[in-house]
Structures are given as structure tokens and as C-alpha cells.
Amino acid sequence: MSAPEPAFEAPWHAQLFALTVHLNESGLFDWPFWADRFGATLARHGLARELNGGEDYFNAWLETLETLLIDAGHARPGDLRALRDGWETAYLSTPHGDPVHLKAGQSV
């Protein structure tokens, strides 16, 4: 076998992949349903330009999962935005090298 390539190019690709597989296995949606939704996002993004199989691909994946969870009532856009901002603040206010935690009280 040739030298193995890393399965995922970036840590967030792996996290997002695992999140989706886990939600599928816990019964939140079945895989054909996921593949249909994801395929539709890829097709839509691909109209504007040719997508690569790395960053473009996982951006489409992320948008699909967010939308799917919002549509199913498991997430609200405002909550996701607030948590995203909370994480940004946490990173920017944590000394380099320390573990980054979401601030207490950062609730949704």
C-alpha cells in the first residue's frame, strides 16, 4: 500500500463527520435522508463554481447539518450564532497554550 494519507485534512472536518455519524446512529435521521440533503447542498454550491473535495466539501456538509437540525427543531439559528460567538470570545481571551473553555454563563 502507498503511504496512508490522513483521513481528514482538518480537525473540524473530523469533528463534523463524527457528529453527523453519531446523530445518524442515535436515530436522529437515516443515512439516505442525509445523503439526499447533502447531495442537494453540493449541487447548489456547485452551480457557482467547481467544488474541491476538501474545504468546499465540508463547508457544504456543515451547512447541510446546521439546516437539517434547524428544520427539525433541534437548533435555533440565534443559539448557534451565540455559541459560535462565545467560542470566539473564549479563544481570544484564553492565554496561548491553555485549554479553551466556553465561559460559564454562556448559555442558550
Binding site: M1, S2, P4, E5, P6, A7, F8, E9, A10, P11, W12, A14, Q15, L16, F17, A18, L19, V21, H22, L23, E25, S26, W31, P32, W34, A35, D36, F38, G39, L42, G46, E50, L51, N52, G53, G54, Y57, L62, L65, E66, L69, A75, D79, L80, L83, R84, G86, W87, E88, Y91, L92, S93, T94, P95, H96, G97, D98, V100, L102, V108
Partner: protein, 205 residues
């Protein structure tokens, strides 16, 4: 870029890229709602980064080359045969093995997204997920093959199999000349990931 990854004197933690923050937001929300178990996520990542990959598929192909009964059973019902070898689970619910011959060369794609036989090949490579491959391999398979360095004789037909969320394909490449007498282990070293997708050939010994 204000947050250069090589900057170790930075006063604060490196800010992850925008989509990574959105993934963290999803993970936090779903954990708080009790919909996910963070330990299960780590387990899934570890499985695909370290434990499942194309070695599994290579073992199946090497056995098919060595054992005619196994080969016949594999072509008949790949899902059952590879499950017996311990290769089953996610995205392996219905697997079909297709065999390359002098007359026919098989290639696999997923035109919808990136359906792929995870238990046998692991996570698909970037090019398998790209628009360039997904769109073009159906339209001009010989040209795509040539870009992968595969030149087939004119008389060899090319068949493209479109994977779905229900059916995943494994290509059994042709056994290379000069591999007579090799055992299954040695044979499996000749089987590349790309040869099991159809964009490559098995290596010569």
C-alpha cells in the same frame, strides 16, 4: 492572516477557522441537549483515523485472487462475505464487488455526494469528493483514467458504477502478472486504494 499558525508567541489561543467555530457551536448545543455523547465522537474519529482503511479491502481482494470459491462467493454476495471477515457496519450495509477483466474495467463514483464502502476502504480521498471527479468520470472516464496514469487497451470497455446511500461498490482489480505463488499477505500489498475504486491498477510485484 492575523492568526498565523506558526506564531507561538501569540498572547491568546489560536482562533480556529470560521467553520470550526460553527462546528464547536453545534457540538456544544447538541451536548447540552443530551443529543450527543462527546466520548462517542472521539471514538468515531479514532476509528476512521487509525483503525479502518483500505487494508481491509486489500485483504478481501487478495483472498479473491487466491481462492476461486471465495471469489465466486464475493461476486455473489459481497456484503455477507466481507461481514464474515469482520468488515461490516457503517456504510457497508449493502456492498457489491465488481471484477475487472481484460474485457471490462470498472470505476466507482458517487455523483450525488460521496457514498463509499467505509468498512473496506475507510474515508474517501479528497479527489473522490471533488466536483471534478464526480462530474467528469461519468462523462469521460477514459480521460479521467489517463489523468490517474491508467491507459487501457482500446478493446477494454469501461463501466462506471454510481454509488448510493444504499449500495457501495468494491472493484476487484486484475491480479498483476508475476504475482503467481505469492501468499495472501504479499498479494494484499499489491492492492492499492485507487485500484479498488477503479482509478488505479494493482501494483506489479
Amino acid at each position: 492572516m492575523p492568526h498565523d499558525h506558526s506564531d507561538h508567541d501569540h498572547p491568546h489561543a489560536l482562533l480556529p477557522p470560521e467553520p470550526a467555530l460553527r462546528v464547536k457551536a453545534l457540538e456544544t448545543l447538541l451536548t447540552r441537549k443530551g443529543l450527543i455523547d462527546p466520548a462517542a465522537l472521539d471514538e468515531i474519529i479514532d476509528t476512521y483515523e487509525n483503525r479502518i482503511g483500505p487494508r481491509n479491502g486489500a485483504e478481501v481482494v487478495a483472498r479473491a485472487w487466491s481462492d476461486p470459491d471465495f471469489r465466486a462467493a464475493l461476486l455473489e454476495d459481497a456484503t455477507a462475505v466481507v461481514a464474515e471477515m469482520g468488515f461490516f457496519g457503517r456504510q457497508g450495509e449493502h456492498m457489491v464487488a465488481v471484477e475487472n477483466t481484460d474485457e471490462l474495467h470498472n470505476i466507482v463514483v458517487c455523483t450525488l455526494c460521496s457514498c463509499y464502502p467505509w468498512p473496506l476502504l475507510g474515508i474517501p480521498p479528497g479527489w473522490y469528493k471533488s466536483d471534478a471527479y464526480r462530474a467528469r468520470v461519468v462523462r469521460e472516464p477514459r480521460k479521467v483514467l489517463a489523468e490517474f496514469g491508467v491507459e487501457l487497451p482500446e478493446e477494454t470497455a469501461v463501466r462506471v458504477w454510481d454509488s448510493t446511500a444504499e449500495v457501495r461498490y468494491l472493484v476487484i482489480p486484475q491480479r498483476p502478472a508475476g504475482s503467481e505463488g505469492l501468499d495472501v499477505d504479499a498479494l494484499s500489498d499489491l492492492v492499492t486504494r485507487d485500484s479498488m475504486i477503479g482509478t488505479g491498477l494493482a501494483k506489479a510485484p
